[in-house]
Every structure is written in structure tokens, then in C-alpha cells.
Amino acid sequence: MEPDQNALLPEGLPPEKTEAQRATSPRRASALRSALQPALRWETGLAIVAVAVVVFGVLTSPQFLTSGNFFNMGVSSGEIAIMALPMTLIIISGEIDLSVASTLGMSSATLGFLWSKHWPMLAIFVVLAVLGVIAGLFNGLLVTRVGLPSLAVTIGTLGLYRGIALIILGSNTVSNFPAPYNRIGVNPIPHTNIPYSVAIFIVLAVIFGVVLHATATGRSIYAMGASPEAALFAGIRVKRVKTMLFVVSGLVCSMAGALWTFRLDTAVWNNAIGLELSVVAVVLLAGVSIFGGKGSIIGVVLAVIVFAGLQNALLLTNFNQEATGIVTGGLLLISVFVPNAAALLGRARGLAISRKPVPRSAIGAAND
């Protein structure tokens, strides 16, 4: 078959395979280094982009580097950043959760409803936590125990949870939450200039980072994303871990709902509608593979910086704020095209230099 047929094939599976192949190839000096290489390269690239965004911001507006602006940046992307953490783990495990923004909305509506019924705030928090756990558990059980694809399940619960928010609150708006809570959303932590949501993100990022990169559970998440069957045969409790990931996602999103509500001082049913796409965009920008098995928390932190910085810089340039999706979408496309192009180039170089039998997957099955 002609070689350019190979180039026409959809789904970027070959690049990953090639890397894996290379890692096991005896010709390589260090298997570990080459295994780390793609990840390192991606995060380095992201760091450069992050710096570029800051430079762009400084050039467009003198306000960009002020501490007040950093505060705004953090506040306005806080919830997306927080929800991106559990999403990262879920996508690495080979699943996806599109119900995150609806869970946030459901939590926000519940908070507003119970507050309007004069519940004490502490009791409401307990309810929100339970609600988040239930929402995540429902997703998780449908995916792992019933065996449904998570994409379909969470599209369903995206509608269901948003619908429940609408049932709870109808078209009412609840606002005027008490001052100590509202302050969480709009004021920095005392004596610093860090918004609460950013502090929460940092703490959570450390926790998620440690769990993902330094524990057996974390490694098993990569394993089940790379090959669910192999993970199962290796004795990993795939279903249990995946269920847990969905539960954690539900809980975190529910708490993000409280943050969102306090920040805007409004509980309405359509809070954060459509935000799931931004969360997924950030996670993919972070270099997490949509097919699972690849990605890192450092990447997510950098992607959050790029995302928040760019949104903010565009805001300062008076670019139509609603149209910043063009930039988010563009970044997303670049983030998937660059590694593919790099893999193609690398392959071409490998062919030119070695002229030796190249790993089969590098040539592509079409040549057989």
C-alpha cells in the first residue's frame, strides 16, 4: 500500500506505540530516559508557552503584572483549575467525566435552596459533600458495574444533574450569602494576595500529584489507562479505583459549586453551564492523552497558568470576551497537533539515519 495512505489514517495511536517501542528497544541507552522524554518535552514546551503568555500579557497591558490582576486571574479560573485535577486522573485512567459542570450547578442550586430555607451553613456543606459523593458514585457505578461507556454515561448525567438543579431552584435566584462566606470568593487570604480558590487548587494539586505520581494507586491509574485488560490481569482492582475516581470528582465538583456560588454571590440553576468543555480543554492542553495512560499533574498546573493567563490577557486587550473560545480551541488544537507532528518528524529522522530495520509500528501496519 502506498505510504501516504498511512498519513490519512485517523486517530493518533501510532505515536504512543512508537514511544513505547522505543523505550523497550535495546538500542537505547536508558529506557527510563526515553520513557520520560515525551512527557518532559511536553511540559517544557508548556512552560515556554506559559512564559510567552506572560510576555504577551505584559506587552499588551501594563496592568498585567500587577498583583491585583494576578488576583483576578486566579479568582476567575479557580474552579476550572480545581475541577481539572480529578478530571486529569479520570482521563489518565481511560475514562471521561462530562458531568462536572452539572455537578457544580446541582451543588450550587442545592446550596441556594437550603440557604433560602435557613439551614445552617455547616449542615449545608455536609449535604453538598454527600450530594457530590452520590453524584460521582452514580457515574462510577454505571461505568464500572453496568459496563457502560463513560462518555455516554456522563453525557446522560450532564443532563440529569443540570436538570435536578433546575428542579430544585426553578428560575429563582438566591443571593446575599453571609459576609464571611462571600469573602472566600472575592477577598484574598488575609495578609497575602492569594485567592482562596488558588490556595485550594495548590493544596489539592500537591495531594493529587503525590497520589498520582508517588503511590501504587497512582501508578495503577496509568496502567489501567494504558491497557485495562493488562491492568486487570496484573491484579489491579480496576473497577474499584475507577469508581473511587468518579466519587472524588463528584466531591471536588460539589465543593467547587460552593466556591462558585460564593464568588458570584448567586445560586442559579445554570451556574457554570458548559464549563465541562473548558475543564477538558485544560486537561488535554496539559498533555494528558485522551486515550488514557499519559499525563502529569505538573502539566496540568502549567496548562492552568497558560489558560488563565491567556484569558486574562485577552480580557485586558478588550478582545470580545465571549469569543476567547477561539483561543482556547486554538490552543487545544495546537496541543494535539504538536506532539503528532513531532512524532512524524522523529519517525522520518529515524528512517533517514538508521536505515536499519525500524520497529514495525514506526512504519505502520499498512506496509505489511
Partner: protein, 350 residues
């Protein structure tokens, strides 16, 4: 045993013998019968509570509400069958709706077919862009179309600015399109049934249509069998885009006020319709007719809630819940079907 194997291996790509063809047909018939049965039972129950549900006005209302979704579902079906997904349909619809109908304001007297062609062109361009990136760029379609969802909506927002197209600028012949009917059946519904029929026939009986199933059920095997997978997937995305473009013009004729939010969130409803209609979200099975019935079921449900006096606040939760019920049932059916097929095949083998 070998006969049993080939029969089980792939009912969709290889037209091996009449027996496997019949089997395929039966499988597909079962899938559609299920969803049609649900629709009939649902309509019967609602009508027994509230007879007004099946009077002519309400049926017309439901049908005309279904048209746009059913059209979008046809394009989405082709994409989903090939194990891809097109999330950009809502944004394409919005862009096409504004760009095409804005012409009425800019150049009054422009013929309606030209406007449809413009809408089609906008959709085609978006579809080609998606298709090129997925097929040649080898990027997963979920990511590509998630990005183009944003980008196309962003372009739409920039073009629209703060404006909107209002009903006064639209010629009456254009507004009349969704309202015209033949013997009480909306004219548009007839056209759309014909279009979906053509799409279903293509998927079912054309070689390139069958190849979409093959690609969806096993991309690697399809490639090895010499199917030009990239070309086929590209075509599926192009058709989906073109259909979304046309649907945008129809949407404009129906709702008559077009701002930059037109079609926001439609992608999820359309995917719901497709999945409820029995198209497997990971490709390889399903039919255009099933997807259209799925769209019809969703709009029937929301109309039923309305007729039964249930607050429209419940709409979304019920639609989401039904999607979950549909995929759970589908899973149960397909597990049983697989078991039945296995039994059958081993019966044939011995």
C-alpha cells in the same frame, strides 16, 4: 467451526453469504424495533391520560420540533458509526444560521435557495476542516471537534457582534417554509424523512457506507482489509458539517431570531438522540433510522411533559435520565444478543 467464526466475526463488512446478510438485517431490525416500541408505548400512555396529545396540532408541533434534531442526528450517526464524534454541530448550526440569513438584511430580494446554498457552504467548510484534521492530522475527533466547537462559536460571536437577525428582515416565503404542509403533514417533515431514508439506504447498502461500519467496529482490521479509512472518515465529517449547515438555515426559518447563541448545546441533545436511537457510541453499529426515531422520541417526551402539565423544569432531568435508561437497556440487549448469536453460530457450526 470456521463457518461459525466468519459469521460471528463481522456481520457488517463482509457480504459473505445470504445467511449472514439475513442475520445482520435481523440484528438491525431488533435494534430499531426496541426504540420504536418505546415510542409507541410512550405515546399510547400519554394519549390515554391526555387525548390532546395526539391531535393534529400537537403532532405537527412535535414533528416540526424534531426536524432540525433529526437532520443533525443523521450526520452525527455517520460520524459515530465510524467510531468518531462530532461535537461541533451546534456551533456550525449557529454560524450557518447567522451568516446565511444575515444576507436577507444585506441584500434584500436574495432568492431563498441561494441562502440555503450559503448555509450549506458554511457547513461544508466546517465539516471539511474537521475531517481534514481528524483524517490527515490523525488527531482524535473528540479533541478536534471540542476545539472547533469553541473556535466556530467564537468566530460566530465575532461576526455577530452585538447584532441579531430579527423576523422583520426575513422574507415571508422563507418564514413559511417550516409551516407549509401537505394534507396536514408538515412539508418539511416529508423532505426530511426522504433525506434520512436516503442516508439510511446509503449506510446500509452502499459499499462506502458499509465501510464506515467496518472502520467503526475495528479500525485496524478495516485498514488491513484495504479500506481507505481516512477518506471515509473525512467524508463522514464533511457530510455531518454540510447537514449542520443546512439545519442552521432551517433553524433560522423556524425560530426567526438569530443571535450568537443559536444552537448552543445542541451537540449534546443530538448525541443523546443518536445514542438513544441505538447507535453504539464506540462505533460499528446502529442505523440512521434509529437515530431519527431517537430524535423523535426526545422531542415527543418534552412535548408530553408539556401536555401533561408537568413543569418544563423537569424536561432536562428526564431527558438525561432517559438517555441513561436507553444505554443501560441497550447494553442489556446487546449482551443478550451476543449470547444468542453465539448460541446460534455454534448451532450452525455443529
Amino acid at each position: 467451526m470456521s463457518a461459525a467464526l466468519t459469521e460471528r466475526q463481522d456481520p457488517s463488512s463482509a457480504p459473505a453469504g445470504t445467511s449472514s446478510r439475513k442475520l445482520t438485517e435481523r440484528v438491525f431490525r431488533i435494534r430499531e424495533t426496541g426504540i420504536i416500541a418505546v415510542l409507541v408505548v410512550f405515546v399510547a400512555i400519554t394519549a390515554s391520560i391526555q387525548p390532546r396529545f395526539i391531535d393534529q396540532a400537537n403532532i405537527q408541533f412535535v414533528l416540526s420540533n424534531t426536524t432540525v434534531y433529526a437532520l443533525l442526528a443523521l450526520g452525527e450517526t455517520m460520524v459515530v458509526i465510524s467510531r468518531n464524534v462530532d461535537l461541533s454541530v451546534g456551533s456550525v448550526l449557529g454560524l450557518s444560521a447567522y451568516v446565511s440569513t444575515n444576507l436577507f438584511g444585506h441584500s434584500p430580494g436574495i432568492p431563498v435557495p441561494v441562502v440555503f446554498l450559503v448555509g450549506l457552504g458554511v457547513g461544508l467548510a466546517c465539516g471539511v476542516a474537521n475531517g481534514l484534521m481528524v483524517a490527515i492530522g490523525r488527531v482524535p475527533s473528540l479533541v478536534v471537534t471540542l476545539a472547533t466547537l469553541y473556535i466556530i462559536r467564537g468566530i460566530d460571536i465575532l461576526i455577530v457582534g452585538g447584532n441579531e437577525v430579527v423576523a422583520q428582515t426575513l422574507p415571508s416565503s422563507f418564514i413559511a417554509i417550516p409551516r407549509a404542509d401537505v394534507l396536514g403533514v408538515p412539508y418539511l417533515a416529508i423532505v426530511i424523512v426522504a433525506v434520512i431514508g436516503a442516508g439510511a439506504y446509503y449506510l446500509r447498502s452502499f459499499r462506502s457506507g458499509r465501510e464506515l461500519y467496518a472502520i467503526g467496529s475495528n479500525p485496524e482490521a478495516a485498514r488491513l482489509a484495504g479500506i481507505p479509512a481516512g477518506k471515509r472518515v473525512f467524508t463522514a465529517f464533511t457530510i455531518s458539517g454540510a447537514i449542520a449547515g443546512l439545519a442552521g438555515v432551517l433553524w433560522a426559518a423556524q425560530y426567526q431570531t438569530i443571535d450568537s447563541t443559536a444552537g448552543t448545546g445542541y451537540e449534546l441533545t443530538v448525541i443523546s438522540a443518536v445514542v438513544v436511537g441505538g447507535v453504539a457510541i464506540f462505533g460499528g453499529s446502529g442505523s440512521a433510522v434509529g437515530a431519527a426515531v431517537g430524535a423523535l422520541l426526545l422531542s415527543t417526551i418534552s412535548s408530553a411533559l408539556n401536555v401533561l402539565g408537568i413543569s418544563p423544569d423537569w424536561d432536562q432531568a428526564i431527558a438525561g435520565f432517559l438517555l441513561l435508561v436507553a444505554i443501560t437497556l441497550d447494553r442489556g440487549i446487546s449482551v443478550r444478543l451476543a449470547a444468542a448469536l453465539r448460541k446460534r453460530s455454534s448451532g450452525v457450526g455443529t
